[in-house]
Symmetry: C2
Subunit: 337 residues, 2 copies
C-alpha cells in the first residue's frame, strides 16, 4: 500500500509474485482476458513468429484498467470514501474513472491540456471530474497535489505505485500462462508501469525470458535512464504516441534496471506506419503508443540483431508484443493528417 | 461435389453435419479459430448480451477463407491442376487466391469494376489473376463462364456450392461449441453462403436456436425472397456494404427458407454509424458488410421485438453476431467521406 510519498529507493522491494496473483484474482471478474492474436503477414516481414497480447481490446480500451482496478478494489471503504485522484494523459484517467464508478466513489482526474479529445470524452463518459493542467511534469504534479488537498481523495499514481505495477503485471502473466515458450516480450515504456509489471509478470513464470522496452525517440527518458544508470526525466514531449509522454519513476526505474534487456527507440514516422500496418493486416485498432512496441522489430535485420535466433527447434523466435491500447480519434487518423 | 450447373432444387439435400465436421477438420490447420469478443458498452445500448464471432480477424480478413479452403483443399490434383476460377466482389476472390496459392495452382478471379481498390490489391497480393466485368449479375456470370472455358480452371462458385456452404458453416460451429447457450445468431446475407452455413452449423449443435439474417435495404433480395416465397434477385446494388451486393442462389434459398427466422433490413446510414460504433467501442475494424449484422439490433426496442426475452435465468438474451470481414480502404473511411 505504499505510495510515491513514502518511497525509499534503497529499501525498495518490488511487488512479490503473490501480490501479482492476488491482483489477478481481484480484477479477473471485472476485466477481459484479452485474446492473443497472430498474423502471418507480419511474421513474413520480420522473420519472426509474433504473438500479440491485445490490451487494446481490454475494458476502457487499454491495459490501464488492470492497475487501476487492482488499486481501487483493494481500498477499504474508508480509504475510498472521498474518492480517487490521479494524473493521466488519458488512458489511466479513464481506467480510474471506470474503477471508481464500480466502487461508487468520485474520480478526480488531472489531465494535460493537450490530451486527445477522445480520451477526455471517455473520462467524462465514466463520470470522472477533470481538472486541466499544463502539459509538463511539474504542472501535473502540482495540480494533482492541489486537487488531492482540496478533496481528500485517495491518490492512485499512474505508475509509481506497487498496486498499479502488480495490476499491470497481470497482462504478462496471462500472456506467459498461454504462451510459456515466448523468447522475449516487448512492451512500450512511458512511466514504466506496464514495462515493470511485464518484467515481474513474465519472469515470474519464465525466469530466462528477455524483456525489451520500446520508446519514441522523442520521449527517450527510459533509454537514457538505462544507458546512464541515472533516472532521467522529460519536462514535456510532443510525440504522437500520446500515452508515452511521461517519465520513469524511482520504483519503475529500479525494476527496469534489474530486469529489462534493453530499450529500442523509434521515430514518429515508424510509429505511424506501423500503426497503419497493424490496422490493415490485423484488423484491430491500435493507438500510436501501442505500435511503438512493434515498430522497432520491423526494421531490416532488427530481430536478427537481438540474437534471439538460437531456439532448439531451429524456428524463428517467438516474440510476444503487448498492444497497450486502442483509444484515438477516428475522425483524425495519424496517416491522414 | 455438385455445382450450380447440376443443381436440382426438388432433390436438394443440403450438406449434412458430417460434411461440416469434415470441412472443419480439413481447414482447421490453415485458418484462425477466431476470438469471440464482448462489449459491455454495446450491451448497454440494446438490453442484450452480445457475443461477436470475429471473422474480420480471420485469415484474408474475412470468413470467406473457410469455404474457399474447404473447396480447394478437397480437390484431387487432377481437378486442381488447371487452376481455380470464380467471381467475387472481393473477399471470396482473396480467399480463393490464397487457398489456390496453398495448392500451388493459379486463381482466376472475375470482379466487378466497382470493387474496392483494397480488395483488388489483396487478390493481386495473393497472386490472383483478375478479369474485370460490369457490376451486374449477368455480366459476372458471362465473364466467369468465358474465363472458365478459356482456362479449363475448376469453378468454385462464391456460394451456390455445397463445399462452400459447409466451409462457411464452420464459423457457427465454432461459435456454438464455445457458446452453446446463445439464444440467436445474426449474420449478414448476400448470396447466402454465410447465412445458410450459419443455419447448418448452429442448428447442428443447438436445434432450437434462432437464426436471423441482416441485409441492406438497398440490396433486399433475401428479404423479398423469404417474404414472397419465390427466389428474387438484384441486377445490381450500390449499397456501401460492398460484400452484400449479390443475390441468393437456389441452394442458399432452399436452406434459408427452411431455417431462417426472418431477415432484418438496415439503411445505409445505420450501416455506417454502426461500423463506426464498433471501431470506437470494440477497437476492431469491421467493414460495412459486417456491421449490417449488428445495426438492426441497435434500433429502439429492436431486441425486445424479437421476443427473445424469455430466458429461464431472467437475464437479457445472449445474441451471437458474426462479423464477416474487415477489409476496407483505411484512407477513405465511410464516415469521413
Amino acid at each position: 500500500m505504499s505510495t510515491a510519498l513514502s518511497f525509499e529507493p534503497t529499501n525498495y522491494q518490488p511487488p512479490a509474485w503473490e501480490a501479482i496473483v492476488d491482483a489477478h484474482t481481484r480484477i479477473a471478474p471485472r476485466i477481459h482476458r484479452t485474446p492473443i492474436l497472430a498474423s502471418m503477414s507480419l511474421n513474413a516481414l520480420a522473420d519472426a513468429r509474433f504473438f500479440f497480447k491485445c490490451e487494446n481490446l481490454q475494458k476502457t480500451g487499454s491495459f490501464k484498467i488492470r492497475g487501476a482496478a487492482n488499486a481501487i478494489l483493494s481500498l477499504s471503504n474508508e480509504q475510498a470514501a472521498r474518492g480517487i485522484v490521479t494524473q493521466s494523459s488519458g488512458n489511466h484517467g479513464a481506467a480510474v474513472a471506470c474503477a471508481a464508478a464500480w466502487r461508487g466513489v468520485p474520480a478526480y482526474i488531472v489531465m494535460p491540456r493537450n490530451a486527445p479529445k477522445v480520451k477526455i470524452q471517455a473520462i467524462e463518459a465514466y463520470g470522472g471530474k477533470i481538472t486541466f493542467c499544463e502539459p509538463k511534469v511539474s504542472s501535473r504534479k502540482e495540480t494533482c497535489d492541489r486537487v488531492q488537498a482540496e478533496t481528500g481523495a485517495h491518490l492512485v499514481h499512474p505508475y509509481d505505485d506497487d498496486r498499479i505495477i502488480a495490476g499491470q503485471a497481470t497482462a504478462a502473466k496471462e500472456f506467459l500462462e498461454e504462451m510459456p515458450d515466448l523468447d522475449a516480450v516487448f512492451a512500450p515504456v512511458s512511466g514504466g508501469g506496464l514495462l515493470s509489471g511485464t518484467c515481474l509478470g513474465a519472469i515470474g513464470i519464465r525466469k530466462d525470458i528477455r524483456i525489451i522496452g520500446c520508446e519514441p525517440a522523442r520521449a527517450d527518458d527510459a533509454y537514457r535512464s538505462l544507458t546512464t544508470g541515472t533516472l532521467q526525466s522529460l519536462e514535456s514531449s510532443d510525440t504522437i504516441a500520446d500515452g508515452l509522454r511521461a517519465s520513469l519513476s524511482p520504483r519503475t526505474f529500479a525494476i527496469l534496471r534489474k530486469h529489462v534487456d534493453r530499450i529500442l527507440l523509434v521515430t514518429e514516422e515508424e510509429i505511424i506506419a506501423t500503426a497503419r500496418l497493424v490496422w490493415e493486416r490485423m484488423k484491430i485498432i491500435v493507438e500510436p503508443s501501442s505500435s511503438v512496441a512493434l515498430a522497432p522489430l520491423l526494421k531490416p535485420a532488427a530481430v536478427k540483431s537481438l540474437n534471439l535466433h538460437s531456439r532448439a527447434d531451429g524456428q524463428p523466435p517467438k516474440l510476444g508484443v503487448i498492444f497497450s491500447g486502442g483509444n484515438l480519434d477516428l475522425n483524425a487518423l495519424p496517416w491522414l493528417s
